[in-house]
Symmetry: C2
Subunit: 351 residues, 2 copies
């Protein structure tokens, strides 16, 4: 059988990015073999080092090259030697905006055997999918500063929300909810304060709901939702929310599901007009970089999401099962190095 | 001894507001006696009922009357029969903006005996003070909508942050941190994305820090802070943050400290140019209104904060001790009605 060829762009990035990406690729290579996938890999040296050398974060020509791939795996972006926001806005958010990742897909799932900080919670209570809007809201970068450094300084940030942008992510979230057993969608916003944007989200959810009569719909203010993530995570199935609320809720979700070391994500462009990008939710963690301490599990689960996106669900399930088996055996065991965890999961995938 | 006279404006508000305020007043009356305070009370019927009757949320003349008091006790605002935002923006936020409550003070404290959803946490691990900015940021209401209801709709919300507004709340937070034993201040923002506002907060904290060399300073992105509230609450002492992040973090804080039924707050104008306003963090909870199910503890603890603000710390400690004693005995006991909890705490205060 002729193998299917996948063009993969790899952006290891900063801090622990390269370490965790190496393990993700190990697992991907192992699973690719048994599914007749030929992975053609191109690595892009973007991040702090490049910025120090050249002053740029993502040259247009490189963006165009990356765009030519089928899919992207990213490690992490951000470094204390670079002013805050330069790499985040210039590289990560630039990719999210230019490649139009309007769905930022973030499962929050507690695997059996994983320790959660919550006292009375079982794995079946924590199994949700957060659909975070990825291309607008408070993340636009619109805003500015006047009279900087004076007592009269004014700094603004603008949240811009469009019917076009909200409708497409809400529709995607409804479709995901319809395909799950509980078929429940919770809109999270703050419509009692952010009345213009909140109203747009509310009206859009009401309108799209007519096309999904099987999905039950709920609404929570973001403050109440944060509380319920901790006190009643079982009330959530699919959550749809704006870019900033989604950022906060998914770190919180990662915390309750056993930590940021396990949280995977996909920046998805469902139109297929650009390659989707998969990345762990965690950051570059410069404090532990280069020490083999980072947990590559979030990246490996992101590889599973990447395989799902490529339409190879059997391969995705194989990776996910290997991770689940590894997680089930971790508790009480000795701490393992990044590469040891990657090797153990690779062995399960291959074996 | 001549008693000190306090002019108190009471705004019971909507839903469970009147029920919990009644208990707060019971306790206040009990403690006032033994501290020679004469409470002159004026009640303002603001909220959903008035809006339905008159169409207004807070007439200018009433605002001026309220302004003439020494202090305000508020229950809760919001009702499902009123469009979302009308009462919140027109009454609660109008008070916060017009009376210039630039400090929204929200202690997050786990009392002994209280059940927390966190597995491995002791009361000494959860003892922080969130200083939330109360008059600007994304709460300004600035923004708008164009082409409403069409596929070309655009809805915006603007976060406006001024050196004037940020400096005063940051300075207040430093002073509070300096007066506590751990002397630690954590700035929470999202300066890698909201670069203009985040940079203003960062520069302001660095500048004010020079006046408080004894205070150690930390910074966390809001997503990471949400995670650490759940995984390492002990790392927080005083937190200073913007209006919206403070809203989210303090509901999360309430959750980890035993629930929204216990979370107190103060809307403080430290200049004394207007009466400060104390209120439970929780909302109007229309689903349980009128059933005697609401926990008045948050309101009673808000009364303690009110007494502290009035400069009667012995009275405040008396209320707080009575609450602590009641909380210590609650566990495993039968559920009590709103008024039973109020009575029990009143009895302890009086006795
Ligand atoms: C690094 C940062 C810009 C990013 C975000 O805020 O989206 C990160 O926190 C995330 O959640 O992927
Ligand atoms: C009711 C609402 C406007 C308010 C807020 O967002 O500030 C509430 O959530 C709070 O925290 O006091």
């Amino acid at each position: 059988m002729a193998s299917r060829s996948i063009r993969l762009a790899v952006i290891p990035g900063d801090g622990i990015g390269p370490e965790v990406v190496a393990e993700g690729l190990k697992v991907l290579d192992a699973v690719a073999q048994s599914h007749d996938l030929a992975i053609e890999r191109e690595t892009y040296g973007l991040g702090a080092a490049r910025w120090h050398e050249t002053g740029d974060t993502l040259p247009d020509s490189m963006l165009e090259e990356i765009r030519g791939h089928d899919v992207i795996l990213l490690g992490a972006v951000g470094d204390p030697t670079v002013p805050s926001g330069v790499l985040e806005r210039g590289l990560l958010l630039r990719l999210r905006f230019e490649l139009d990742y309007y769905v930022n897909l973030r499962p929050v799932k507690l695997y059996p055997g994983v320790t959660t900080p919550l006292a009375d919670v079982r794995p079946e209570d924590v199994d949700m999918l957060v659909v975070r809007e990825g291309t607008e809201g408070p993340y636009t970068g619109v805003g500015g500063v006047m009279r900087r450094g004076t007592p009269q300084e004014v700094a603004t940030q603008e949240s811009i929300n469009t019917a076009y942008g909200v409708e497409r992510v809400v529709r995607y979230a409804f479709a995901r909810a319809a395909s799950r057993s509980r078929k429940k969608l919770t809109l999270v916003h703050k419509d009692n304060v952010l009345t213009f944007a909140g109203d747009l989200y509310q009206r859009t959810v009401r309108a799209v709901a007519r096309d999904f009569p099987e999905v039950s719909v709920d609404y929570l203010h973001v403050d109440a939702a944060s509380m319920f993530f901790v006190t009643q995570p079982g009330r959530f199935d699919v959550v749809v929310t704006d870019n900033l609320f989604g950022d906060i809720l998914t770190d919180l979700g990662a915390a309750i599901a056993g930590g940021i070391g396990l949280a995977a994500s996909g920046n998805v462009n469902p139109t297929g007009d650009a390659p989707s990008m998969f990345e762990p939710v965690h950051g570059s963690a410069p404090d532990i970089a280069g020490q083999g301490k980072a947990d590559p599990t979030a990246t490996i689960l992101s590889v599973a999401m990447l395989l799902d996106h490529l339409g190879v669900p059997e391969a995705a399930r194989q990776v996910e099962s290997a991770v689940a088996a590894d997680l089930a055996e971790r508790q009480g065991g000795p701490a393992r190095a990044t590469s040891q965890i990657g090797d153990a999961i690779t062995k399960r995938v291959a074996g």
